[in-house]
Structures are given as C-alpha cells and as structure tokens.
Symmetry: C2
Subunit: 452 residues, 2 copies
Amino acid sequence: MVKEYIEQNQTRFLEELFALLRVPSVSADSRFKGDVRQTAELVRQALLDAGADHARLYETAGHPIVYGEKRVSNDAPTVLVYGHYDVQPPDPLDLWNSPPFEPTVKDGKIFARGACDDKGQFFMHVKALEIMSKKNLHGCNLKFMIEGEEEVGSDNLAPFVKEHKDLLKADVVLISDTSLISLDTPSITCGLRGLSYMEVEVESANRDLHSGVYGGAVANPINILSKMIASLHDDQGRVAIPGFYDKVHNLTTEERAEINRAPFNEEQYKKEIGLEALYGEKGFTTIERTGIRPTLDCNGIWGGYTGEGAKTVLPARASAKISMRLVPDQHPNEITELFSNHFKSIAPPSVRVRVKAHHGGEAAVTPTDSKAFLAASSAFQEVWGKKPIPTRDGGSIPIVALFKRELGLDTVLMGFGLDTDALHSPNEHYGIKNFLIGIETIVAFNRHFGKS
Amino acid sequence: MVKEYIEQNQTRFLEELFALLRVPSVSADSRFKGDVRQTAELVRQALLDAGADHARLYETAGHPIVYGEKRVSNDAPTVLVYGHYDVQPPDPLDLWNSPPFEPTVKDGKIFARGACDDKGQFFMHVKALEIMSKKNLHGCNLKFMIEGEEEVGSDNLAPFVKEHKDLLKADVVLISDTSLISLDTPSITCGLRGLSYMEVEVESANRDLHSGVYGGAVANPINILSKMIASLHDDQGRVAIPGFYDKVHNLTTEERAEINRAPFNEEQYKKEIGLEALYGEKGFTTIERTGIRPTLDCNGIWGGYTGEGAKTVLPARASAKISMRLVPDQHPNEITELFSNHFKSIAPPSVRVRVKAHHGGEAAVTPTDSKAFLAASSAFQEVWGKKPIPTRDGGSIPIVALFKRELGLDTVLMGFGLDTDALHSPNEHYGIKNFLIGIETIVAFNRHFGKS
C-alpha cells in the first residue's frame, strides 16, 4: 500500500523536491540570505501540506529554524526528525555539467546542490508524513526540526535546543544525512567524526613587494605557510600537533576487525575517484582512515597573484582554511586551542600569524542495541530484504552530541545517500531510487518503532 | 638652459605622462589587448611630437613594438633606448588608495600602475629627445625601441632583434628601468638577476571530494603541494633543487666587501616594509641576498574553497606560481629543466603533477669601464654633484643579455626609480623630482657620450 502510493505520486514528489532545490539556500554566503529564508518558508508549507498539525519558523541570530509537529497518540513514542535546508556553496561553478540550482535528471539521478545533502534526504521524512497522514499509518508522534545553518556549524542550534527542551521532548532523534554502503548493501551509520575548522593567515611585509628587488631577503608568506602546513604531518601521515592524539581512543583488535568486515573494494574505490594510489596514515586501512582516525586537511589556500600569466610579486600575505576531523573524546574546542597555539609557535619571527576558528563539532557514537536502532534494522529488513550493516562514517553531524547532552536523546542515522553522490562538490546528485526507497523505509521505521 | 626648459614645461610633461598612465596596458591579461595597442600608438605619436624623424609600430606574435629614430650626424655615436610601455596587472585592487589607472599626485609622487615601471621612466627619454630637438643639443643619434611585453617575458623581442640587426645598430643600449639607492645617493645598476618562472599544478581525485567522507584516505593536493614547496628550501634557506647552485659564481671576499660598501640601513629597511625580522639564506647580507644570490619565491598559490565561511571540501587540485631569480651563468632554460624534473620527482604516486614554464631571462653584468658608463657617471656628477655608486640589482631585465648576444652591445642601466616605489604592488608611484631630474641627466648623458 505504501509502495503503491509512492509509485502513484512519485512525479509530484520529485516536482516538490525540485522546487526546494531551485532556491539557492547557501548559508555560508550572506548574499543568499533572502533565499535561505524563502527555503525555510517552503519547508514550513511542505510540512503543513503533508499533514502536520502545525509548523512555524523560529528566529535565531542567524537563519531561521523550521519546527513542525504531528501528534497521533499520547501512548505512542515520539520521533524528533532533524534535517537541514541550507546547502554548501556551489563553487567551482565551471565544473558543473548542469546549473547547480536547476535540478536535472540524468541516469536516474537528480543533479543539484542539496539534492542529497540534505534537501533530498530530509524531504523523504516530509513525504513519509504525507503517506502516514493520508493512509492513517501513524505509529509515532512526529516532531520536525529543520535548520538552516548546518553547513556553517549550527551555531544557533544549541541555544535553541537549550531553550526549547520541552518542545523537543522525544524518544529518539532520527536523521537522514548519511550514506549507505550501496543499494545492494544497506547500512546504518553508528559513528561520526567531529570537526574543528580553522582559518590561518601568514603576513610578512606591509605590502606586496617586487620579487626581484626584495626576493631573498624577505620572508615569503606563501613559502612560509607551505612550510608550516607541511610540518603539520609527520612522515607516517600522522598529525604532528603535540597532544592531538592524547584523547584518541584506540580500538581493540576485535573492534578493528569488525569495522573492516564491511564490504570494500579498494580498486573500485580508487577507480571511481580517478586515483592510482591512496594516501594516508600508515598502519590503517582506508575504512579505518576515514572512520575511526582523526585527520587534518587543507580545504582552501590562497595568496599572491593567481591570474593569467606571470607576475613577479612577493605577496604580503597568504591564507588557508584547515580542518580536522575528530574521533570520540577529542573535543573540538580543545583541538582548536591545540592547533592555534601550535600554529603560532611554529611561525618564524619574520612573519605575523593570525588564527581564527570557524565552527566545530563533536564526534559521536550511537548505540546499536536501542529500540530505535532495532526498529530501523527491522525496517530495512522488511523493505530491502537485508539486514543493514552498522558503519562508522567519516563526516560530521555535530548536533548528534548536542542532542545527547541537552535532550538525553540517542540518534538513529538512517541515511540513504551514497559516498559517490559528490556532496560538497560540483555535480552533487541523489538517486531517485534512493529517494523513493528511503520514504518507504522511513514509513516502515515509524510502524516498527511505534510498536516497540 | 635644460633645467629652465624642464621647469617651464613640467606641467605639460606630467600631463602627457598621465595620458599614457590612464590606458591600462596590462600585457598579461588578454582582456586589455586593445588598451595595450592604444598605448603603443600613443608612444609612437609622442616620439614624433618630440622630434623623431620617424616612428612606427612593428607587429609581433603578441603586442607591437614601437620603434623611432632621430638621426643627427654620421659621426655621432648612436644610443639605442629600450623601454616598455606595458604594465603589471593592478591586483589586488582593494589595496590601492587611488585608482591604478587614474594618476594621482600626492606628496610629490605620481601614484599609478606603470608610473615608475616603466612608463614614467622611458618617457623621460622621450622628453629628453624633445629638449635636445628644440634646443639643438643632440650629441648622439637616438634609436627608440619600446616594447609591450616586458612584464610577460619579452617573448617576441628576441625574434624582432634577430631580424632587425641593421635597424638596431648602435654603440650602446640605454635603459631606465632600475632604481637609485636614494635621491641623496645616486647609483647605476651594473648587475641584474635572471629569472625562471614556473606554474605547477598538483591533482589528486577526479573531482572535489567531501573531506569527511574521503579525508584521511585520499591525498590532499593542497597539503601535498605545501609539502613539495616546503622541500624546495633547506634549513639554511638554500634552494634544495639538485644542481641549482652548480653554475653560481662565488664572489671573492674583496668583491663581497665592495658590494657591501653601499650605504644600507637595515633598521630603516625593515621599518619601511613593516618587518620585525628579515629572512633569507644563511651567511649572506641583505645586499648580497638580493643582489648576488639566486632565490626561489612563490608568487601565487590557489586551491579549494577560498570564499567566506567554511566549506569542508577535499579539493581535486592546487596550483602555484613559483619563480627563481638567477645570477650570472645560471641559464634560465637549464634551471627551468632542473626545476621541472625535480618537482615531478618529489611528487608521491597518489597525485599527478603538471609543470609549465612561463618566461625566463638571463642574468647580466654590465661593464663599469666603458665609454658609455663613464659618460653616465659624468652626467650624474654634473647634474647631481655626486659620483654614482655601481650596484647589483635583484630584479631582472632579461633583454640585457639578449642585446649583448645578438647585437654585441653593452647596456647602461640608468634608472631613476626607488626601491620603495612599490613596483608590481598596489600604490606604485614615481617621484616627480625623480622624473624631472632624470630627464636632465639623460640630456647630459647624451652630451657626454656624444663627445666621447
């Protein structure tokens, strides 16, 4: 019955999603502020259209949070659905094969910024609500909290959660913002990495200089920054910031063996992203490097002349964005401070260094023996005919730790994306099959959890 | 008489220079192609107005070369004046206090891109021609060759020179594109560094990746590029490319002592560019580091997300512009090849590296005992009341070696700029006093050389 409803309405479901995808809700860039708000309004209306009892916008110091509810029974458990309607910036624009904010279907996939992360994923919950409302299938009370600042660190979510503990009372948090191993191998994420995100600037002279006149006698901020960045890893690929690994929990041989049991084809992995060889911390597998080990990556670098041709400038400054993925017990604030102090300490006296912290987020491990996890597992078994594999993901959803701390709630990470969906990249996409089977699985989860 | 003529006409001289400065003749950027040509036309007309017998544009594969002549006598020596009417790109625009192509006078200085390098300097020779024509003061036959590609490597000058050896026959080349020690301490440049300019790209995956999903397992091109750049210097500040110093001529203790005799105040030098400490090759003074030692500097770097806020991207590629200043006997082609081979050899197998050479140029040492040098020295003595000090400059004027090789001509580098004129930087400027006294000194040079 659910499957049939989805089949009969899939064209409309997609059209509704496309309307959301057309609005460039880029939270990182203030020029898109109006679009972000317009998207929030669309989400509110979509919740009401799907059968929510009420839905409204809560203002924050940044972009608004959309909150909506559907109450079915005082006896039923309550599920708090979290998602985000903001998206990453679309740059570099010239690498997109179709416009990022004009959703385009190709090979059964929807190409658009936010198609998977996270508009396409949270919208499955909205459509599941519609089905449960229309078909009277409610097994749980539903609360929706869809925010607009996930891609910039959810700065205003913690104050909101702290202030509205009653409103957000629930039995579990359900989030679709992660990936499956594949459509053949369903999985549920039960571990996420944390994040510490820094911006650094190295400044030398008080102005750009002529590299002929001054070159050789004045510190070049690009060369110095490169040297400083290079020194952040040792020759084993480990992060060379004193204290960085102090709180990293080393898994047992058994735990590591368990994690490495997930199906993984290294040749296929390399081929898919066009690499001859992988690169990472010595002594760990790719699954471990991306799941249970912390990292340090430059996300951007800039300085000097970057235009066409040659300009013999000795630039005044160079900058980089550097982020670290963290594992449980590595606290982002502590790591941010370790990084700042270390980075400043390695600068030669001939330059000035500025270090600024962007948002951070805690790592999280979610239980695999809770009622909600078991309900999710049953839902997969029912719809997919297969038991899902628990996995550790490399990405960060910092609010998982927040919900545990402030609301005492565990989270179930029931995501339907794929690692190959090009999140945060040009040509982000989401499989139409993933979108539709996701809706079906969410409805099944609600039935199983409602009965538990 | 000359001084008076300059005083009476200085307002007009400046207005004429401003007209040249208003046209953005940025040779590196193809969008300015029309402006470059317009500037060439203005130069041609200025030569005719100043009394040249004829002047025309020679087409090249790139921007045109302006050539003009004034013949006074078959017995007089011939001076070939070289200059360039193209300019560096004006970026970063936001650091200019006045628009780069709207010349603005402040504190007795002309602020504009090209004010000193080299429009303001070659134009002194045009005005000297006017004075000599009007006042019948010609001591030498004059040939002018003003090109439009100096800032992008003078690629089309060598073919032109080779093809027009008869046209360019002369007794000496005279160039004003260098600096004085100060208005109190006149100097003549008699050594210049060469240049090798490279652009490199490090590529990892076939697309930008999510730093959470892939971070830790995939080579980050920014981190790798930083590491590769860092390895290009050893801990003594020496360039760590095998063979780089093989042809570097080590000066004798006496030669070094002579060079270090030039007046130099390190505290003032640091203060002027806003630095607490200098930085460079161990065992050498600042004058040596910028004059007689080769260098390696990054001129630009870019990769990943460089916009506002945070984007957790693991970028597909990162690039840098890297240039090396060379000393006599280090051949730019050889150094370019050494660099390319070395840079590719240090790349890990997990990335692909591309290396591209921009223009290069040979270092040069000019004689200090030639008739022309002595005439220049006398001209300074006459106009400034002081003997000029011979210096080694850090910059590159690659065509000095070309003129020696192809035309058999020595060059006299009689420049009137200052190291503090912010060449290639925002707020480039040229002192009005330098401009006017330069014209007077050039007229004096022509009289002295004509008599020699």
